[in-house]
Amino acid sequence: MSSIVIWTIVVISVLGLILAAVLYLVAERFKVEEDPRIDEVEKTMPGANCGGCGYAGCHAFAVAAVQNGNLDKNYCPVGGNDVMKKVADILGYKVEEKAPMIAVVRCNGTCQFRPKVAEYDGYPSCKVKAATFSGDTLCAQGCLGCGDCVSACQFDAIHMNPETGLPEVDQSKCVACGACVKACPKHIIELRAKGPRGMRMFVSCMNQDKGPAAKKACAAACIGCGICEKTCRFGAITVTNNIAYIDFNKCKLCRECEAMCPTGAIHDVNFPIALDKAAVKARVMERQKKEREAAAAAKAAANESAASAETLSATN
C-alpha cells in the first residue's frame, strides 16, 4: 500500500518538474522583447480600446506613441489632457493641451417638427435604411432614428429619446471617442468643444435644402436665411449650402444668433440662465438699427463729401 503512495508522489513530482521545465523553455524561446515604456504608457491609458485616437486600441496607441518619438499624432480623447500629461511625463515628450470635446447631435427633427411621409419596414439599422432610401421624412439629411450611434457607443453615453425619436448624448459619460460620428450614415453627429463650464452653441440641423423645402420637411430646420451670420459680431457663423455652421473656436457664447433664429434651429447647452429671446432680439434689432443709421449717415457723409468734392472740382 505504502509503495503505491510513494510511487504516486514520485511520478507526480517528476511530471511537475518536467512540465515546469518545458514551460520555462517555451516562455524563454518565444519571449518578445518590448520597450518597457510601452507597457508603462499602456497602464496609464483608460483601457477602453475604443479606437477614438485612431489606433486599434490602447496598446497600439502606446506602441505608436513610443515609436513616433513625439505626441503630435497621438491624442487620447477619452483620457483627455490629464492622461496625455502623464504619457508625456513617462516618455519625456511635450504635449499640447487640447480643449475637451463632446459629441453633438445636429438634428432637430423631432416627431413633432418633422412629419413622417413613409413608413420604414426593414432591418432597424440606420445604414440599411440610408441605403434603401432618403429617409421616412422629407428631410434627406436628418436623423434616421434607428440608433446605429447608440449601438456604436461603448460608454453608454448616447441613447434614443423615444419621445423625440432623436439620440441624446449623456454629457457626463461622453468621452468624445468619435465612434458615433463614424457610425452615423447621415453624418449628423459632430465632435465639438465642450466650452467653458460646458456652455456651447450649435446649429442643430443639417438640412441643405432651400428655405421653403427645408421648412416643409421640418418646422425646426435651418432654412439658410443667413440672419445668424449677419447677427454674429465675431464672424463665427457661416452659411454654406443653405446651412449655417457655428465655428466653436470663434463663438463667444453671446446667444444673439439663437435669439434671432426664426426657426429655433440654433441651440444652447448648459447656460445657467435661460435666454430671454425677446429682450436679446430687441437689443440686437436696436443695435442693428443704429448700425444701419450709422452706416447710412456715413454713406450720406461720404456722398456729401464726394458731392462737395465734385462741386469743388466743378467750380475749379
Partner: protein, 327 residues
C-alpha cells in the same frame, strides 16, 4: 392611401414560417402517436399529454418569468419536443417522471442555451437520456402492447433488450430470436415491446414521407444513417451470425426509425450542409451499432445522436456547399 411602406428588397415572402414547419412535424408524428395510444391504451395517452403540456408550460414559464420575453410557445417547437419525448418513454412510466423529463428537455437542454435554435443537443433526447440514467428501472419497464382497452398488461422485454440478456446468458442470436418468436412483419407493423414511438415502424415512416413531401426535411441524413447501419451490421452479421444481429433487425428495432426520421433530422442540432449531414448520419449509424453490439445498453440511438450533436458545430465549420464560380 396611407403612408408608403419602404423596406429593402425582397418585398414578398415564401409561405413558410417556423410555426408552419413545426406544425408539419406535429402532424407527421400524429400517426405514430395514435397507433401507440391504440396499442398501449389510455396510459400512453396520459404520458403523451403530460409530456406535451409540461413542455409547453415550462417554455411559457421560462420565457415569461426568467427571460422576460414574449412567450414562444406559439411556434409549436415545444409541442414537438414534448411529443418526441413522450414517444420515447415507456407507457408504464409514472406521470411525475415525465414532468421531470420535460423540465430537463426544455429548461436545461433548450432554454438555458437561449431557446429555439440555440441549443446544441436535441432537447427531447437530453430529457430521455436524463431519465434513462436517473430512473433506469422505470425507464426499462416494458409491457407488451395490450390494446386500447386491454387490461392484461404483460411485461416483456424489448427485442434489443432480450438479445442483450440472451447473449449475456450465453445464448446465440438465432436461439433468442426463435425463443421470442420475433419476425420482421410484426416489427414493421407494431406489436413488439418497446417505447411508444418504437411500436410501429409503418406509422413513423408514413409521417416521415409526409415531411419529405412537404419539403420540411431533406432525406440525406436519414438515408445515410440507414445505409451505415445496414452496411456495418451486414459485415458483422456475415462474420458471425451467432453473435451479431442482422441488418433488418437493426433497422426495425429500437429507436432507429424514430431517431433517424425525427430526431437526427432536427434542424437545430443537425449540420447545415449535405456533406456534413451525410457524415453526421454515418456517425450516428456507426455509434448506434457499436453501442448495440458491444455496449452495456441494449439501445444506442439516443446516445449516438447526442454524441454526433456535439460534432455538428465542427461539421458546419468544415463542410460548406459548393459556391458558384469557386472551386
Amino acid at each position: 392611401m396611407n403612408k408608403l411602406l419602404v423596406s429593402p428588397s425582397p418585398h414578398i415572402h415564401a409561405d413558410v414560417s417556423t410555426k408552419s414547419l413545426m406544425r408539419d412535424v406535429v402532424i407527421a408524428l400524429a400517426p405514430a402517436a395514435i397507433v401507440s395510444i391504440v396499442f398501449y391504451g389510455w396510459h400512453e395517452l396520459l404520458v403523451l399529454a403530460v409530456s406535451v403540456l409540461s413542455c409547453l408550460l415550462f417554455e411559457y414559464l421560462i420565457t415569461r418569468f426568467m427571460m422576460k420575453k414574449p412567450s414562444t410557445i406559439g411556434d409549436f417547437s415545444a409541442a414537438v419536443t414534448g411529443l418526441l419525448l413522450g414517444l420515447n418513454l415507456p407507457s408504464t412510466i409514472p406521470w411525475w417522471i415525465v414532468v421531470i423529463g420535460a423540465l430537463v428537455a426544455i429548461g436545461v437542454a433548450k432554454m438555458s442555451f437561449g431557446g429555439l435554435g440555440q441549443n446544441v443537443f436535441n432537447p427531447a433526447l437530453v430529457g430521455r437520456v436524463f431519465l434513462l440514467v436517473s430512473y433506469p428501472s422505470a425507464m426499462t419497464k416494458w409491457v407488451m402492447p395490450q390494446g386500447l382497452f386491454g387490461v392484461d398488461a404483460v411485461s416483456g422485454a424489448t427485442p434489443l433488450g432480450a438479445i442483450k440478456e440472451g447473449l449475456l446468458a450465453g445464448q446465440t442470436v438465432p436461439q433468442i430470436m426463435d425463443a421470442n418468436g420475433y419476425d420482421y412483419a410484426q416489427m414493421l407493423f407494431a406489436n413488439i415491446g418497446g417505447t411508444a414511438g418504437e411500436v410501429s415502424a409503418i406509422a413513423l415512416l408514413l409521417g416521415f414521407i409526409y415531411l419529405l413531401v412537404r419539403r420540411v426535411v431533406k432525406p440525406y441524413i436519414t438515408l445515410s444513417i440507414w445505409g451505415t447501419v445496414a452496411l456495418v451490421s451486414l459485415i458483422f452479421w456475415l462474420a458471425s451470425p451467432e453473435r451479431f444481429t442482422d441488418p433488418a433487425f437493426n433497422l426495425l428495432t429500437g429507436g432507429m426509425i424514430l431517431g433517424s426520421c425525427f430526431m437526427a433530422t432536427d434542424y437545430v442540432t443537425s449540420p447545415m450542409s449535405v456533406k456534413g449531414g451525410i457524415i453526421f448520419g454515418i456517425g450516428i449509424g456507426f455509434i448506434t451499432l457499436m453501442i448495440r453490439y458491444f455496449g452495456s445498453y441494449p439501445e444506442g440511438m439516443s446516445f449516438a445522436i447526442l454524441i454526433m450533436n456535439a460534432v455538428v458545430p465542427l461539421l458546419n465549420m468544415w463542410f460548406h456547399q459548393k459556391k458558384y464560380g469557386r472551386a
